[in-house]
């Protein structure tokens, strides 16, 4: 189940004189939830923007299933099966769930050269996806504007799945959610991995991370300072890794 999907080798990103990211080696596996942790400015966001094709890396390479790739735009990343769910979800509140899931990639049939929507088919596909994710949304025709924050996350995840995403990057998906909603989104994250998707999760909430992540990677000052299996570590160790109090991090930062 946990085959390697993507390997990042020696990734660096410089903005002028500022080094935002240096020497990052990382493996992302299908069927696994990988959590990226780190303080503000540690380089997590820069790293996922490189994965998502929003920034080109200054150095290093990305390898997907053995083939080196170079992304020039988010479209390239999407074509390689990488979907990013940003905090401010790119959903249209005035359109229905089904319409949002298919937006920009509608199913259509041509009648006299005019592309007509296959509304029934789109609705059924979305219905199936929602059931599969156990998203507790009964009507794919409901406008997204009427949904709660957690339900909107579910729609964004459906959209990613529908685009055949093999790696879903979630940027603080629970940051703006109430407790019950947070639980649902975490459960969704697990189900996504269970479907064989690779999931990269950015979060500031450490207990949340322990709940869903298989592996934890800690970034600090633009470097990857630690990688642990969630089962092999604990809350305190992770905090000390993030703050730099951990002996390993101190040793690393001394040698640099």
């Amino acid at each position: 189940m946990t085959e390697t999907f993507l390997v990042a080798r020696n990734i660096a990103k410089r903005f002028g004189a500022l080094t935002a990211l240096a020497n990052v080696d990382l493996e992302i596996r299908s069927g696994e939830v990988l959590a990226l942790l780190g303080d503000n400015g540690a380089g997590k966001s820069t790293f996922i923007k490189i994965l998502a094709g929003a920034h080109p890396p200054s150095d290093g390479e990305l390898v997907i299933e053995g083939h080196p790739v170079a992304f020039h735009s988010p479209k390239d990343a999407a074509a390689s099966g990488i979907a990013t769910i940003f905090q401010e979800l790119a959903l249209s509140e005035n359109l229905s769930i089904a319409e949002n899931v298919f937006l920009g990639r509608e199913l259509k049939r041509s009648i006299f050269g005019i592309p007509f929507l296959k509304r029934k088919e789109m609705r059924q596909r979305v219905d199936g996806l929602l059931k599969e994710l156990d998203a507790h949304i009964s009507d794919p025709e409901a406008p997204v504007g009427s949904l709660s924050g957690g339900q909107r996350q579910a729609v964004a995840i459906c959209r990613a799945l529908n685009l055949n995403a093999r790696l879903v990057i979630m940027d603080e998906p629970t940051a703006a959610l109430a407790v019950a909603e947070t639980r649902k989104v975490l459960a969704l994250t697990r189900r996504l991995a269970a479907r064989g998707c690779a999931v990269v999760l950015i979060s500031h909430n450490i207990s949340e991370v322990f709940e869903v992540a298989d592996r934890i990677v800690v970034f600090r000052r633009g470097r990857k300072v630690a990688e642990r299996l969630a089962a092999d570590t604990n809350h305190e160790e992770v905090v000390s890794l993030i703050t730099g109090a951990h002996p390993d991090v101190r040793a690393l930062e001394k040698t640099n």
């Binding site: 790119a90 509140e93 937006l103």
Partner: protein, 328 residues
């Protein structure tokens, strides 16, 4: 399960807003019938419908523009320019077939100009079309040389102001235009893209929608509909005066907003636009018949716009309306 189906709506399906517009139309008719003995005649009903033809066609295009978060305040003068072109062609050899081609063609061309300024030039639609309004207004004066285009041949009139299969040609053309716009809006990817852009251009772009293409096409569609409107204008009046179309944009925007289309984009109603046009024309005609000078017509339209938008702004502040919207 029974969440509001505002999306799968049928060709003529109506919501509360649209029913109340229909009631308002009927109410106005009753009041004017009582107030004026000349009102409730078949001749007057025909006049009201006749006066609605151009506004219905232009209103359909304006509905798309507003739904997309756009607008075109120059649309009345665009119709004027198209009418001049039709008039010149008609005056030259009286060939109605050529005149019928010229209308939509000039409309499409001017739609391309507007789109070039607003979409490619990235000038906000309200400002860009206001600038074009100034340019076009002078163009009308220059093209007409200070004189009305009048006494045009009746060949176009004979073709368009008649009936086909027992239905007046204008009604037939409007029905086809309505159906085509409805299909585009509710049954094709174009309609979804248009509404997504009206909701948020940035999100639409992130969703992979070809935003520039959709916006450009919409201005061209509006231009073509306006060119067709010009055709009916020339067929009916057989002249083109200097002030042609000067209140049309105001009327069109008023009718569309009255019909329930959001001025901020993302939400629209075609049947609402049709009813909005009819209500506007019924009011204008009725007020004229009870003795209010036509000078006051733009005042009525202006007050309607401000009234509707003001009412919506106020009612949105009440929790009840918000609750209802949240459940929708």
């Amino acid at each position: 399960m029974n969440a509001v189906r505002q999306f799968g709506n049928g060709v003529f399906s109506m919501n509360g807003r649209e029913w109340s517009l229909l009631v308002a139309c009927l109410l106005a008719i009753v009041i004017f019938s009582v107030a004026s003995p000349h009102y409730a005649t078949s001749g007057n009903a025909a006049t009201v419908l006749r006066n609605s033809v151009e506004l219905l066609l232009i209103g359909l295009g304006m509905t798309l523009l507003l739904a997309m978060g756009g607008i075109d305040v120059s649309i009345g003068i665009v119709m004027g320019l198209a009418a001049i072109a039709i008039g010149r062609v008609l005056g030259a050899d009286g060939n109605p077939a050529l005149a019928i081609i010229v209308g939509p063609l000039v409309g499409a061309l001017l739609g391309c100009v507007t789109a070039a300024v607003v979409v490619l030039g990235r000038v906000p639609a309200i400002v860009g079309t206001l600038g074009l309004l100034g340019v076009y207004r002078t163009a009308v004066f220059v093209l007409l040389g200070g004189q009305w285009l009048s006494g045009l041949p009746s060949s176009l009139t004979n073709l368009l102001a008649t009936t086909a299969l027992g239905v007046p040609v204008p009604a037939l053309v409007i029905a086809v235009a309505y159906l085509a716009v409805w299909l585009a809006l509710r049954r094709t990817p174009y309609g979804l893209h248009l509404l997504a852009i009206g909701n948020s251009e940035e999100k639409a772009r992130l969703s992979g929608i070809p935003v520039i293409k959709v916006r450009f096409i919409t201005f061209v569609i509006s231009g073509v509909l306006t060119g067709i409107a010009a055709m009916f204008y020339v067929a009916t009046y057989r002249n083109v005066e200097m002030t042609i179309g000067s209140t049309l944009a105001l009327d069109a925007i008023a009718a569309v907003i009255l019909g329930g289309t959001s001025i901020l984009g993302g939400r629209c109603s075609l049947i609402g636009t049709v009813l909005g046009v009819l209500l506007l024309r019924i009011l204008q005609n009725g007020l004229l018949l009870i003795g209010v000078p036509s000078l006051w017509q733009p005042v009525v339209t202006g007050v309607l716009i401000i009234g509707v938008l003001g009412f919506e702004a106020v009612s949105n502040r009440f929790p009840l309306a918000q609750l209802r919207r949240a459940r929708a």
